[in-house]
Every structure is written in C-alpha cells, then in structure tokens.
C-alpha cells in the first residue's frame, strides 16, 4: 500500500467521518451511495459536497437497502464504490452484503457504530462486532473487517480498504464507532493520487470484444454452490494467511494482557501506562483486522509463562471476547470488562477492572463474561 513521504496537506483537523470520506476520495472511490444516520452524517455530507465537485457519483439513496444495492451495481460495473451507515442501517444491508460476498464483489462499507439493540442511542458503541465478523447476513462468508481508533486511521484504513477489496474481490468493512467517527483530530492526508485498481476482467462493462459474462450468486447446477463455497473459503484462507494485523504495546514482559480494539484499545493504551506506573506489568494487544482475527498472535502471547490473565475490554457485552477465548483456548484465564449501551469507559474504569483482575485468584479456569 502506497504511503507517500510527502503528504499533500501536512495536517488538517478533521472529524473521523470526514477523514474517512477524504480517504475514500483519495483512494479513487468513484461512486458513493449513502443514507443519513447519526453518528456518520458528516461522512455522507462530505461526500455530497466533494464527490460531485470531482465529477464523481454521489447519490443519497432512498434507504440503506437501496444504497448497498447501488454499491453492488457500481461494483458490478468495475467501479470503486462505497457506502456508510451506522448500526441499524448496517443491519438493513446484511442481505446485500451476503450477495456481494457471494458474487465476489469488492466494495467498502463503513459502520460508525452506535448503541443498540434497536434504535438504541446515538452514542458510540462496539456492539456490532459479531455482526461484522461472524456474518450478519446469511450463508458462509466473510468480509474483511478493519477497526480504526483515530481520525488518522479512519483516513488510512479507508484507503487501504479499497485496495484490499479489489485485491481479493471482497467487501471490506471499516468497523468504527461514534467516538472515532465524531472526534476531530489532526490528520495527515495522503497524496491525492489514487492507487491503481487492478484489472477487473470480471466486471460487466458490455460484451464488446469478448464473450458476454454475468455475475451471480445463484448456483443451481448440481454441487456448483458447494464448489463455489470452497472457492470462497480458499480466498478466506489466503486473506487469513497474509492480511492479519495487530498492534502490541508493552507486551514483552507483561503479566496482565489487555485485548481491545478501536476506541477501547486507545483507552487501554493509556491504562497500560498508568498501570505500569503503579507497578502492574500490563500490556496491550490490539487486533486491527477483526476479520481475519489474529488468533495465532493471541495464542502465542497467552501461552507465555509470565502471562497471568487476559482482560478483554469492549464497548459491548462480550463479543471479541469469544475470538480471544477461541485463540487462547484455555491457555490462560480470560476476563471481560464491558461497556454496553453507548457508554465509553474512562481510563479509570479500565484500570480498576485491571487492578481487580490482578487481585483475583486464577487457577487456569476461564471465566465466563461477567456482564
């Protein structure tokens, strides 16, 4: 992925939502289709302003279902296409996402999560981890899920998402939260020279000079759908082999390992410093790709002899927790500190949970989520 030395603007103060939008534009996003929903409205508004200015396509769709279907169409035509929404709207896109996965269509989908379930609230949340990583839609499929923790990463990851999407012909989701989306921070913007898209011989552009072709996810011939599924799984294995990303902080000698993503990872980073100041050897592992999940990395860390226990911190009731437990597989106790319903924990909240953890007697038994 192209990360130019000299960024176009050195620093711009931007909302995460805007940084993502600008990232998409600089990634060469040709078509954006969205529908208003808080807390991602700035993203849609940004695209409304800047896409037409550049002669690109912006449509405020009539619904999230229509928006994902337009993305489907633009992707079918070979264009770099994106949509964004927040939790309830993302639920409405699940059928479409399953179709795109089935049709192997690249696209970028941004979910700036809010509190749920239902209408919930407009506060930040991480309640859609399961939906994003296990497949909220029907059937066996995966999409790549990236979890930004800052406005800068909203920018960077959105650009990266387009590249990954095209490379693997797969939808890529940016799983942000209201905090990351709404927060303004200085952002270094990429050069405005979109990374070239790979050739898309599969795209439907008219059958000129080649046989006609089609894009489908319906496979009625005998065992054709089974075969198609194995092909998809092969693609998923390849992504898993090459694209996993995670970040570690102070894990070298850590006894207490925090696992957190997105905003919670950022907060936990502060907590690690505070804990160490108190003599608690804390460390942090932050999955950046939620799917594929860094199972092996987690397993390796958890198996280290000095690691006494893990603490999973999420703004939900325990979702990534399951992936951590699957990775750790009984090698160390895993505890959970969760903040559902739109609550963003403070450093003190997490630090207290960590201190409590250090006081608990651990005999290798994995705790169930305590929420």
């Amino acid at each position: 992925m192209k990360k130019p030395e000299a960024a176009f603007f050195s620093r711009v103060l931007m909302m995460g939502n805007e940084a993502a939008a600008e990232g998409a534009i600089r990634a060469g996003c040709q078509c954006y289709f969205g529908y208003p929903i808080t807390p991602q409205n700035e993203l849609t508004a940004y695209m409304a302003k800047h896409m037409p200015e550049r002669g690109r396509v912006f449509i405020q769709a009539e619904s999230e279902v229509a928006a994902i279907s337009m993305v489907f169409g633009a992707s079918v035509a070979g264009a770099r296409a994106m949509t964004s929404s927040s939790s309830p709207g993302i639920s409405l896109k699940q059928e479409g996402i399953s179709y795109m996965a089935g049709c192997q269509l690249p696209a970028v989908i941004i979910n700036v999560q809010r509190g749920g379930p239902g209408l919930g609230s407009i506060d930040p949340s991480q309640g859609d981890y399961f939906q994003a990583t296990k497949g909220g839609g029907h059937g066996d499929y995966h999409i790549i899920v990236l979890a930004p923790a800052s406005a800068q990463e909203m920018h960077d990851m959105t650009m990266q998402a387009f590249i990954l999407a095209d490379q693997y012909r797969i939808p890529v989701m940016i799983l942000a939260d209201g905090r990351v989306g709404q927060m303004m921070e200085p952002v270094r913007l990429y050069e405005d020279s979109p990374p070239p898209a790979p050739p898309k011989p599969w795209a439907l552009t008219g059958a000129k000079g080649r046989p006609p072709q089609y894009i489908r996810s319906l496979f009625m011939e005998e065992r054709a759908l089974e075969k198609h599924n194995y092909e998809l799984q092969a693609c998923y294995r390849q992504i898993t082999a090459t694209e996993i990303k995670a970040e570690e902080t102070e894990t070298g000698d850590c006894e207490w390992l925090i696992a957190a993503w997105g905003t919670c990872a950022r907060i936990s980073k502060g907590v690690v410093q505070k804990a160490r100041a108190q003599g608690i050897k804390a460390g942090l592992v932050r999955p950046i790709t939620l799917w594929p999940f860094p199972h092996e990395r987690l397993a390796r860390l958890a198996r280290r002899s000095q690691v006494k226990a893990l603490l999973v911190v999420e703004m939900n009731c325990g979702q990534m927790l399951e992936d951590v437990r699957l990775a750790v597989n009984g090698a160390a106790p895993v505890r959970f500190s969760g903040y559902p319903g739109g609550r963003v924990p403070t450093e003190t909240d997490v630090l207290n949970a960590l201190i409590e953890l250090t006081k608990t007697n651990h005999h290798g038994k994995v705790e169930q989520p305590a929420v």
Partner: protein, 253 residues
C-alpha cells in the same frame, strides 16, 4: 427494422441455451423481443442487464450481453449503480411484479423519480411465478393463488397495483407504456414499446418503463392460448393498455 418479406431469424442476441420457462410463458416471448431490439439497435455489446429474482433469474443464460443478478427487488438500484458508473452503457433491468411492485417498490419508484436513464422492463403476470404462484401486488380481485386460496379479497389484501399509473405521478420519467402479450398484435406492440424504451435510453433522454401484461400459463392454470385471453381480457380490463408518458409529458387516457 426487418420487413416481413425478409423472413425471420432467431435473434443474434439470444444464446443457444433452451429457456427454462414453461410452454407459452411470457418471459420467453419478451426475451425474444428484447433480443431483437438489442440486435436492431446494435447495442448488445454495450448493454448491461440486471436480472431479477423471479422466474427470469437465469436471464443471463439466454442473452448474449452482460447481465448481473440483483437481490430480490433491488434491480432498479443495481441498474442505477451500473448506469452511474458507466453512463455510456445501455442498462436495463428486467423484473417481475413481485420483484418490482412488492419488495422492490421503493427502489422502483425512486429510480424513476431520479429519472435514471435506464430501461425498466416490468413483467406483470399477476403472480409470483418462481415460488409457486403466490399472490402478487398485481393479482386480480378474486384471483385464486397459493396465498389467496379463496381468491384475492380487495378488502383485506388490496387491489391490484397499477404501476404505470403510479409512476406517472412522478415528474422525471420520460417514457412509460403498458402493453399486453395477448396474441400476435400484442407481440408487435410489445416489440415496439421495447424499441421505444431502448431508443429513449440510446438517445440519452431519460428513464423508460415498459409494463408487459404477460401470460403465466402454469399459474393461470390454463393453456397458453387461454392465457393470452386472460391477459387480453381480464388483465387488460384492470390494467389499461396505453402510453402513459411520452417524451417526458404525461398522456391522459
């Protein structure tokens, strides 16, 4: 256009595949006519179609142009995505009444309202063909289907929705016509309407919509010949066959 005396050849835009439709199905007829139009306007190589979820889901096996699937009801939105990405291609969606007027009504209306310069071909056969003959938004009053076993009761199940009339309340559509596959004359009229619709798009004029009252002998539970009568008599009585919008201007009955 071919003159009668030059004979008739299977349209070049059709593949060799045998169509899976039932004998006498309107889908077969419209496919054939559509292929003729692609031939005559010489647009096959720059056309991208969108197939519905419905009996015509396999349309991509029958046309020698690029075709995409769409989720049930979303063909107009998918076509919008394609057309916006590739404005110089000819984009059509081909949809059944369940697809277009039930689950996909919002997408249908809003694509028309935006005046997307696409061509929407609407096969109104009064039933959900593919799933086994359930009630459609266009099922006639009293008509028996798998989900209206005692006949459609307008008081609880609604009246058949007239899509041309509904879309004609919008300002952007350029061409809207309803035709009926009720016999030889219907074949000729349908061909003409399809031609006009695609010409509208080729000349960059805007949104075109052709509703085809179409036989489904299987779920009408009668012979293909009687199906044509059902279309020409029963259906046409509920769904007036005429032009609703011509060159962007509403045409009144």
């Amino acid at each position: 256009m071919k003159t009668p005396t030059s004979g008739y050849q299977r349209p070049a835009s059709l593949t060799d595949a045998a169509m899976h439709y039932c004998a006498g199905c309107g889908h077969s007829s419209v496919h054939k006519l559509l292929a003729e139009v692609l031939d005559e306007l010489e647009i096959r190589e720059r056309t991208v179609g969108v197939a519905p979820v419905g009996c015509a889901v396999f349309a991509y096996f029958y046309f020698k142009c690029d075709i995409s699937e769409a989720a049930h009801g979303r063909a107009a939105a998918v076509a919008t995505g394609i057309k916006r990405a590739l404005p110089d291609r000819i984009v059509f969606s081909y949809q059944g009444d369940g697809d277009l007027a039930a689950i996909g009504l919002t997408e249908t209306v809003h694509a028309a309202n935006r005046g997307e310069p696409i061509t929407v071909i609407f096969i109104n056969n009064t039933v959900y063909g593919m799933t086994g003959g359930q009630m459609a938004p266009t099922t006639l009053a009293g008509q028996i289907t798998a989900t209206s076993p005692t006949g459609r009761n307008p008081a609880t199940m609604g009246c058949p929705i007239r899509m041309c009339e509904l879309l004609n309340t919008l300002e952007q559509p350029y061409y809207i016509e309803r035709v009926a596959l009720d016999g030889h004359g219907g074949m000729v009229a349908t061909k003409k309407a399809l031609l006009t619709a695609f010409q509208t798009q080729v000349s960059g004029k805007g949104y075109s919509f052709v509703e085809v009252l179409s036989p489904c002998p299987t779920h009408f539970r009668c012979s293909p010949q009687d199906s044509l009568k059902f279309v020409g008599q029963k259906m046409a009585a509920q769904f007036p066959v005429r032009i609703f919008r011509k060159e962007g201007v509403p045409v009144h009955a």
